[in-house]
Symmetry: C2
Subunit: 379 residues, 2 copies
C-alpha cells in the first residue's frame, strides 16, 4: 500500500468540503437555489480578487478565460504588447495571432522576471498599444513577475494591463483594485482547491470601456453578455453547476483563513521548499521565485524526467517536469492550494530518496532538516 500525493502545479488536491459539495444533488441552474448560491459566489470572488468589480465566470480551462480576454478587449488591427518569458506568456501571443493580431513582444529569458522599464519603453515607443498582456506566476519557469510595478507604468497610459493569474490567484498577493490591474484571469484548480473547469475574468472600468468597443468575434466567451446574466445571478450558458457548488465551499474556506494568512502560508511553504533544495546542493531555476511552486534544475547527469518518474512510481508523489524547451532540464515541486506543511515534508523526504535511488550523492535528511528549520522559525 502506498498513499498517493498530488504535488503538481494544478490540479491541486481538492478541498474535502468541496468534494462533499459535488456529491450533493445537483442544482437546476435556472432555479432560485442556484441563483442564491451564485450570488454568494460572486461576493466571494470579489473578496478573493480584491476588487469591487464583477468577476466573470466561464465553464472552461483558464485558457478559455485568456481567449475571452483577448477577443473582448481588442479589435482587428489593434496593437498589443505581450510579455513572453515562458509557455504561458507565449500563450497570450498565440491567442492574439490566432485572431489575426500582430502583437509586439518583450522576450525575457526563461527563469527571469521582466524588467518593468522595458514595458515603459515599449509603451513609449508605440503609444497605440491598447493592451499589455502579462503573467503573474509563469508556471513553466516558476517565476513571479513584478505586476505592481508594471501596473504603475501601464496605469499612466491609455492601455490596459491584463494579467494571467491562473497559477497565483489565492497564492500570491494581487490586489487588483489597489494596484490598478485591469483584467485578472484566474482558474479553479490552483489556489482555489477545486477541480479544473472554471475560468474567472475580473474586469476594471477602464477595461469595460474597451470591451464596449471590441470588434473581434466572440460568442461563448462574451463578457458583456455574461455580466448582464450575472447581474441576475445567472450564467449565459449552462454552467458547470457541480464546480460552482464546489467553488462556494472553497470561497468560504478562503474567507475563513483570510487572505493574509493564505499568502503567508504559501510563502512559508515556498521558503521551506527552496531552503531544502539548496540544502541538498541543487540549483533553483527561477529568480525571483513564485510562492506557488519551486522549479529546480536537474542536477548534472540526471534527466529531470527520471526524477519525476521515480518520485511517482517509487514514492507515490506526482510532481511535474519541465515544459517545451525546459523538458528534461527542470522539475517542479508545487505547494499551492490544498497544501500544508506536511506536504512539503513528505515531498522533500521523497526527493531525498529519489536522488539517492538515482545515484546522485546527497546526505539523507538534509532537505527535510532545512524544511523543519524554516517552518519552525515561521511558527
Amino acid at each position: 500500500m502506498k498513499k498517493r500525493h498530488l504535488l503538481a502545479p494544478g490540479p491541486t488536491p481538492v478541498l474535502p468540503d468541496a468534494l462533499l459539495a459535488m456529491a450533493r444533488p445537483i442544482l437546476y441552474h435556472r432555479g432560485p437555489e442556484y441563483e442564491a448560491l451564485l450570488g454568494r459566489v460572486r461576493d466571494g470572488l470579489k473578496f478573493l480578487f480584491q476588487t469591487k468589480h464583477e468577476v466573470l465566470l466561464f465553464t472552461s480551462s483558464g485558457t478559455g478565460g485568456m481567449e475571452g480576454t483577448v477577443v473582448n478587449t481588442l479589435s482587428p488591427g489593434d496593437r498589443a504588447l505581450v510579455i513572453r518569458s515562458g509557455k504561458f506568456g507565449e500563450r497570450w501571443g498565440e491567442i492574439c495571432e490566432a485572431y489575426g493580431l500582430q502583437p509586439q513582444y518583450i522576450d525575457v529569458e526563461w527563469g527571469r522576471a521582466v524588467d518593468p522599464d522595458t514595458v515603459a519603453a515599449a509603451l513609449a515607443a508605440d503609444p497605440a498599444i491598447k493592451v499589455v498582456f502579462a503573467t503573474h506566476t509563469e508556471s513553466s519557469t516558476g517565476v513571479l513577475h513584478p505586476i505592481e510595478a508594471i501596473a504603475r507604468i501601464v496605469g499612466k497610459t491609455p492601455a490596459i494591463l491584463v494579467v494571467d493569474a491562473i497559477m497565483s490567484l489565492g497564492v500570491a498577493d494581487l490586489p487588483m483594485d489597489a494596484w490598478g490591474v485591469d483584467v485578472v484571469v484566474g482558474g479553479s484548480q490552483k489556489g482555489l482547491m477545486i477541480p479544473p473547469g472554471l475560468a474567472f475574468c475580473a474586469v476594471s472600468d477602464k477595461a469595460w470601456a474597451m470591451v464596449q468597443q471590441s470588434r473581434l468575434p466572440k460568442f461563448y466567451f462574451n463578457f458583456l453578455a455574461e455580466r448582464k446574466s450575472l447581474e441576475k445571478n445567472q450564467n449565459t450558458f449552462t454552467p458547470a453547476v457541480s464546480l460552482v457548488m464546489a467553488l462556494h465551499e472553497s470561497l468560504a474556506a478562503v474567507r475563513a483563513e483570510g487572505l493574509a494568512a493564505l499568502f503567508a502560508r504559501h510563502d512559508r511553504l515556498a521558503r521551506a521548499t527552496r531552503a531544502a533544495v539548496r540544502a541538498l546542493g541543487l540549483e533553483l531555476f527561477a529568480d525571483p521565485p513564485t510562492p506557488a511552486l519551486t522549479a529546480v534544475a536537474a542536477p548534472p547527469g540526471i534527466e529531470a524526467g527520471a526524477i519525476v518518474k521515480t518520485m511517482r512510481t517509487a514514492h507515490g508523489i506526482t510532481i511535474s517536469g519541465g515544459q517545451a524547451q525546459l523538458k528534461g532540464k527542470i522539475f517542479r515541486l508545487a505547494h499551492l492550494g490544498y497544501a500544508d506543511e506536511s506536504d512539503v515534508v513528505l515531498c522533500l523526504a521523497a526527493l531525498e530518496r529519489t536522488l539517492t535511488d538515482l545515484g546522485y550523492p546527497i546526505k539523507l535528511g538534509e532537505g527535510v532538516r532545512a524544511v523543519q528549520e524554516v517552518l519552525s522559525q515561521a511558527g
Copy 2:
C-alpha cells in the same frame, strides 16, 4: 420534509456512481492514470455516438461545442444553411453571425419539424452551401427533427450536415456513421447523467477535410489540436478532470444498459408522459415529439409559470417553463438521463395536484392511470 426531484431538461440528476467518482482523489491530467482513463472514455464515446471517428472533448457547455463546430468548419464568406425552429436552432445562426457569416435560414414554425424537402430545395438553389446546421431535439419546443432524411439529402451534396444532439445524445437513436451525419455535438448533462461542463464533437472524414481548410479564427476550440492531443490520450488544455472521471462511470452504465434498451426506456417514459397529459385534457405542443421531454401547452387561463412554480414550491418537483416567445405558454416535463418509471409517476401525480391547486378542473388519478397503462403494456 419534502424530497426534491429534478425533472428539468438538463442538468438531469447525476448517476450515483458518477457522484462517487467525482469524490475520489483528483487525477493529474498529464499522468498515466488519467491517460488510461481517457483512453477508455474515447472508446465509450465512440460507442455512444455510434461512430468509428474520434469524438472530441471540450471543457465547456454544449454551446462551446457548437461554436467550435462553426469556427472549425467554415471560413470567412462561406455559405451556410441554418434550420431554425426554436431557441437552439437560432443559436446556430447567432454563432455564424457572430463570426461575420450570413447564413441562409429555413424557418420552421416553433413546435413543428422541418420538412426535409425544404433542405433539398435550399441546397439545390445555392450549391455553394458548405454546412447545414440542424438540431436533433429542439429543447425549446420538444420537437424531434427528421435527421435521417436530412442526412440522406445532404449526403448527396458536397455540404456537410452538423447536428446539435445535445438534448438527445443517449436518448434518441442517432447512428452517426450509418446515417452519414458529419458532425454530432453533445453535452454531458443530459442523457449522459453527469453534471454540465463537457461538450463533445464527433467529426466525420468529410467534415475533417473541411476542418483542414477552415480559416475562421479559433484557439480554445481547436479541432485539429484536440484530435492530435487525444491520439496521445491527452487534452490540449487542462480538462475538467472530475467530470471526465464521472463520464467514465456514465459511459460504463450506458454500455451496461445497451443502446437499444436506453432508447426504449426513453421512448417508454415519453409515451407514458404524453398519454397522461392527454388524459388530463391538456394539449401536447410538439409534433413530432422528442423522447427527451414533453412540452405541454398551458391550459386556458393558466400561466405556465404558475404551474412551474407550484410544482416546485408545493410539490418539490423542478420542471421548466417556456423560453423566449414560448415563455408563459408552455411547460416542459423532462424524462431523460437518470430517469425511470417512478419519475414519470411522481411527476404526473404532482402535475395533477398542481392543476387542482390552481383551480383547473381535472379528475385526480387520471394522469397517473394513463402512465400506469402505458408502462404496464410496455412491460
